[in-house]
């Protein structure tokens, strides 16, 4: 079997080399709420979103929700899921509570929503890295067969944002170390409604960024850029995406 990441630059860190194929494989596995086939279809739709004429038109306007039309899709997923994936991919800084309520009213369950978002973001992240280092993003893998268990995390409570999350004081054994290092920031909590998705998301993000952002300097972290440059890139990318948080 060929290595889908064989063309990575020679100086790519070992932890990144290890994380990428794992993240890619996990995309295609059965989730808590979605089948492997649905998850791969989401990842494929993320790539499609960049070529969507409606998304391009909305991105170019001051008022994206004033532009109506149909998305250019691959035709595999429900329209309500496309209404999540496409704007999340191409114009996430202008997502609103009305948008969220709209997709929920269209029939997307809260738990499904979180898993769709998590899968789509992992796909965007992997592709962003490939674009950055100049390699062709690999094909998504064949989906793994299986039925999702579709069991809600009953310890979740509403908030702090639009979706329910699992607060640090409510974690169970399956999330025992998740909030270690006083990592109570809301971004850490944002996708906890589907606990089994958390390692799929954070095991990719940690080597890309760092596990404990409280550190002032790099310490034992092996990086070829400085702490200041890291935080500048973090802030610049966030600003480019129009992210308030």
């Amino acid at each position: 079997m060929s290595d889908p990441f064989a063309d990575l630059p020679a100086s790519t860190r070992d932890d990144i080399r290890a994380a990428l194929p794992v993240a890619r494989r996990r995309l295609a596995e059965t989730g808590t709420w979605l089948t492997g086939a649905q998850r791969v279809a989401i990842a494929a739709e993320v790539r499609q979103a960049w070529d969507c004429a409606l998304c391009k038109e909305r991105k170019a306007t001051l008022s994206p929700y004033g532009v109506s039309g149909e998305h250019d899709t691959l035709g595999e997923l429900p329209a309500a899921w496309i209404d999540i994936i496409h704007p999340l991919t191409t114009d996430s800084g202008r997502l609103t509570k009305s948008w969220y309520e709209g997709v929920r009213d269209a029939g997307v369950g809260e738990d499904e929503f979180v898993e769709i978002v998590s899968v789509a973001i992992v796909a965007v992240t992997m592709d962003s890295f490939c674009v950055g280092v100049g390699i062709e993003p690999p094909d998504w893998p064949e989906p793994v067969a299986g039925e999702p268990k579709r069991v809600r995390a009953e310890e979740a409570t509403p908030g702090p944002g639009w979706v329910s999350t699992i607060a640090p004081e409510n974690v169970r054994a399956n999330m025992a170390d998740f909030y270690a290092n006083e990592s109570y920031f809301y971004i850490r909590r944002s996708l906890t409604l589907v606990p089994d998705e958390l390692p799929k998301f954070w095991d990719l993000m940690t080597p890309f960024y760092m596990s404990d952002p409280r550190i002032e300097e790099l310490g034992d972290l092996q990086r070829a850029i400085s702490r200041g440059q890291i935080e500048f890139l973090a802030a610049r990318a966030s600003a480019l995406l129009g992210c308030y948080y």
Binding site: S11, V131, G134, P160, R236
Partner: protein
């Protein structure tokens, strides 16, 4: 604006605007262009910026920069898709900075 820990002076407006100035941060301008290319999915811009980053900072630095930019293609999306607010302590700490940089323009979450 100064770095509280390092004592260095940084022009943080570079975070909000792409300019051909480093803003006090070594290689800030070329890193900014690299972030722009990736976030905008402009392959030509990314390639040109990547070449400059490699030439000035080395391949390993380019890879690490791409990794951070990729991670911060994830976190903002997670935040914006779930509508998480700023933590109270962070909101208080950054009030002046947010005003100075015009960050409230991004605050659409309550709509």
């Amino acid at each position: 604006m100064s770095g509280d820990h390092s004592g260095n002076e940084y022009d943080l407006s570079l975070v909000m605007e792409g300019r051909d100035a480093d803003g006090g941060l070594p290689n800030g301008a070329i890193l900014s262009r690299f972030a722009e290319g990736i976030c905008q999915r402009d392959l030509a811009k990314t390639a040109a910026a990547r070449e400059k980053v490699v030439a000035e900072m080395g391949e390993a630095a380019m890879v690490d920069a791409a990794a951070v930019i990729a991670a911060f293609n994830a976190y903002p999306r997670a935040a914006d898709a779930t509508g998480i607010p700023l933590e109270d302590a962070k909101a208080e700490m950054t009030e002046g900075l947010r005003e100075e940089l015009g960050l409230e323009a991004f605050n659409t979450g309550g709509v």
